[in-house]
């Protein structure tokens, strides 16, 4: 289990999927967050296939504009679609309706298949946009952009601290795993293995809690009074405003198509 992690631990959290000279990369991060938010909401609540296909097309355009390398895109899409595949195994058979096909005693229904198809479309559309827009921004910039957009302080802090300490906790995890391995631990399907993993998780929790306490102390020593300050400033350029307007217009059109059922 540990072998996967032996290399550079930064692999765990990747950053920067878009090529740095693309238009998308240089967009104001606030614009990206706003666009992703509204676009995701409209896609999530839409049910018409016409609208969903349109949204998928739009999502593809954005991915192409961001020039996300194909391999990275696929690497991110695989886990999402594994989950979707799982839905395909159950949904067609569990939703009642007009039968469409049957495998032995199992009957796949028409509404079940449509339901699964909708979820597949929605998931890929939203993840595509997320990869292209949010994946092209460093965590640091995202956090500050969230702050600028008026996201509650506590969420932004949580975001920053998670980013900062997930590596440290991961390193602690690797150390513990190595310590287990050098003493000959071989995972198997037995109580010893489960107990060992339980200890591992417990130890990580305790260590993280201890570290949280020490970090808090270190912050108190430097005069922390519950406020984090940001040093970065953003400025909206013309291209940001245009992108924002165009994308929001697309979102509005998708919404109109969904609810008025025109076209």
């Amino acid at each position: 289990m540990g072998d996967r992690f032996n290399g550079d631990d930064n692999r765990m959290i990747g950053e920067g999927f878009a090529s740095t000279d693309s238009l998308i990369y240089r967009l104001d991060p606030r614009v990206k967050i706003v666009v992703v938010f509204f676009f995701s909401v409209i896609v999530a609540v839409s049910n018409r296939f016409f609208v969903l296909m349109l949204a998928l097309g739009l999502s593809l355009c954005i991915v192409l504009l961001a020039r996300v390398p194909m391999r990275q895109l696929l690497r991110r899409l695989v886990p999402v679609n594994l989950f979707v595949l799982f839905l395909w195994l159950f949904l067609p058979f569990t939703i009642r309706g007009e039968p469409l096909f049957s495998i032995g005693p199992l009957v796949g229904t028409h509404p079940g298949v449509l339901y699964a198809a909708r979820i597949s479309l929605k998931a890929n559309t939203i993840v595509g946009v997320l990869i292209a827009l949010v994946g092209s921004t460093s965590i640091l910039t995202l956090g500050h952009a969230m702050h600028e957009l008026g996201v509650p302080k506590k969420i932004v802090h949580l975001f920053f601290f998670t980013y900062r300490y997930i590596h440290v906790i991961h390193r602690e995890y690797l150390r513990l795993v190595s310590a287990m391995k050098v003493r000959g631990f071989q995972p198997a399907t037995n109580v010893h293995t489960y107990k060992t993993y339980a200890h591992l998780v417990g130890m990580l929790l305790v260590k993280s809690a201890d570290r949280a306490e020490r970090v808090r102390n270190a912050m108190l020593c430097r005069g922390f009074r519950g406020r984090l300050y940001s040093l970065s400033e953003f400025s909206l350029r013309k291209i940001d405003v245009i992108s924002l307007v165009v994308m929001l217009a697309c979102v509005v059109v998708l919404g109109l198509l969904e609810w008025t059922k025109t076209v």
Binding site: F160, M219, R222, S230, L231
Partner: protein
Amino acid sequence: MDKNGLIIDLRDVSFGYPGRAPILDQLNLSFYEGDRMGLMGPNGSGKTTLFHVIMGLLKPSSGRMEVFGRPVQEEKDFGEVRQKIGLLFQDADDQLFSPTVLEDVAFGPLNLGKSQDEAKAIARGTLESLGLVGFEERITHKLSGGEKRLVSLATVLAMEPDVLLLDEPTTGLDEATEGRLVEILQRLDLSFIVVSHNIDFLMKTSEFITYMARGKISLDEESIPHTHIHIHKHGKYEHKHNHNGADTHKKK
């Protein structure tokens, strides 16, 4: 400040957890302005606890504490203490929590009410004085161990403290980085207490060394670190000196 420069004055300070031997046991400490004190002692003798009590992170169960001539007891009393006394933590990962170096170093000055520009200027100045130019936008968790230690020191120095408390600053450092740290501490015009097991490091940085054991600082065992530099023609061999002055030489 006290007339005679008494900065930290602890009288009969005790700290401990119920049901266990006290970690600090009626400890006395007088630390004067300009002192550069080394503190040695076995693991678990209460050195880190002592630092945390001074900073107000742990509340002593009994005893009296005066810092800069003012009694300190409640959380609110420690605001000033924490600005004037900087604590360098044992683990730099505890100290560096901001995503970038510049933000981390500017964190203290911002908390002290400096404007963004002032804080950035202070942070840049501090980094420069430690030879860390070009580190501003580096990501803190991607720094090497030695770099983390020096940046941690920068975050403490950016508060412009009068006193430093250094908790095992050489742990995990290679010789070159340790040398840099020695050079920085020698150059700084600050009073400090440094906890270390590294006698070499203490000899280079401290004026005197005290020992801590079983929750007490024993001042009667205070010692002055010193080295003798001497020269003679057998100097290039490993050798020992006898008290009568004759040398015994051992070929390598």
